[in-house]
């Protein structure tokens, strides 16, 4: 899938830049962390298919094995960008 970057940018208050939706930020849209997709972009496995397992480090340094540890219960899995910016 060829993914395009959304570069629409408008000058905002102070030295801020507004993106296509009017969100303000210090970096001009299309640069740095403000590289949003325009049009289609990959969103991973589809609704109705099994979620691939996730084995990763917990913030308390233990290891989480999602499908084992949820023990037959439903779950919500959130992918986010960073805890510090």
């Amino acid at each position: 899938m060829e993914i395009e970057v959304e570069t629409t940018a408008n000058p905002g208050p102070g030295k801020l830049w507004l993106d296509i939706d009017g969100f303000a930020g210090p970096v001009k849209p299309g640069n740095g962390p403000r590289r949003d997709p325009k049009g289609e972009f990959p969103t991973g496995p589809d609704v109705g298919t099994p979620l691939p397992n996730i084995v990763a480090r917990h913030h308390n340094d233990s290891t989480v094995d999602l499908h084992r540890d949820r023990a037959g219960k439903p779950a919500v899995v959130v992918f986010f960008r960073s805890a510090v910016w």
Partner: protein
């Protein structure tokens, strides 16, 4: 991660994926960022999956804008099979269609989605329509007035059944019984006005519908609404202007960011 969890009193596990194993296995690495662009490389297109007890994906929430996220109330509704955190709907039988409109959630921070929830009580034997409908008929819908800074996403609708009209032979999609339409909304940080020292967003619009039974249709109806909700704030990193204004929980973000950049630089060698 541990510092962030403590600073924000988070009760669920935060997982880290420093080698991108999970993000790449899901195919959601943001490839618009080149690998040498420190420290931004290595992030996913942000999104959320809901899985059932068998591990099958029942809902998926991804938006184009990095600033927009699914709201917790929407996730609860998804996990509970579209049940609400709102007061239970009034199930008293009605003579005419009755609509109640609420916003689910305490506030409307920039980028956090909340649902505008329209609950239709429909008299026994009548039904409402989903789009598309023939000219002159009106589907059940939520129409928002243009409001600067307010963003709206695709309406979440219940399942329909096909109904073939005896006169024309045309097949339409109809809703049986009481229904709920959920209209996800958020704002970009500029919506609302200062009211008594707090920023408040006014959401105006109308709900439209037309009820029919198997024999005949009533007139198209519309009901205006005006709902006020505090604008609220998002969680921000404790850096820059937000930290200077005291809008964030202190947690050493700048030090962690420096460490992250350094680690990525080293991993390239």
């Amino acid at each position: 991660m541990a510092d962030f969890s403590a600073a924000h009193h988070i009760t669920f596990p935060l997982l880290s994926d420093p080698d991108l194993v999970v993000i790449e296995s899901f195919g959601i690495l943001n490839t618009l960022i080149p690998p040498d662009d420190h420290p931004w490389y290595g992030i996913p297109f942000p999104g959320t999956y809901v899985i059932d007890d068998a591990g099958v994906i029942t809902h998926k929430f991804f938006e184009h804008s990095l600033a927009v996220r699914v709201g917790p109330e929407q996730l609860i509704a998804a996990v509970r099979g579209n049940d609400f955190t709102l007061e239970p709907a009034d199930t008293t039988p009605v003579e005419d269609v009755k609509v109640t409109i609420d916003i689910e959630g305490p506030d409307l921070p920039p980028g956090t989605q909340r649902d505008l929830v329209a609950r239709f009580s429909v008299p026994h034997g009548q039904h409402l329509y989903d789009d598309p409908v023939p000219e002159g008929m009106v589907a059940a819908s939520i129409e928002l007035d243009d409001t600067p800074g307010l963003m709206a996403f695709e309406t979440v609708k219940p399942d329909t059944r096909p109904l073939t009209l005896s006169g024309t032979g045309e097949t339409l999609d109809v809703y049986d019984g009481d229904i709920t339409l959920r209209q996800p909304i958020t704002q970009n940080g500029t919506a609302g006005d200062q009211v008594d020292g707090q920023r408040v967003v006014t959401i105006r619009g109308e709900v439209r519908w037309q009820a029919c039974d198997d024999m005949q249709c009533g007139l198209p109806q519309r009901q205006r609404f005006e709902l006020l909700i505090p604008a609220g704030r998002i969680t921000l990193p404790d850096m820059g202007p937000a930290a200077a204004k005291g809008h964030t929980e202190p947690m050493n973000g700048e030090k962690h960011l420096a460490q992250m950049v350094e680690r990525r630089r080293k991993s390239e060698k």
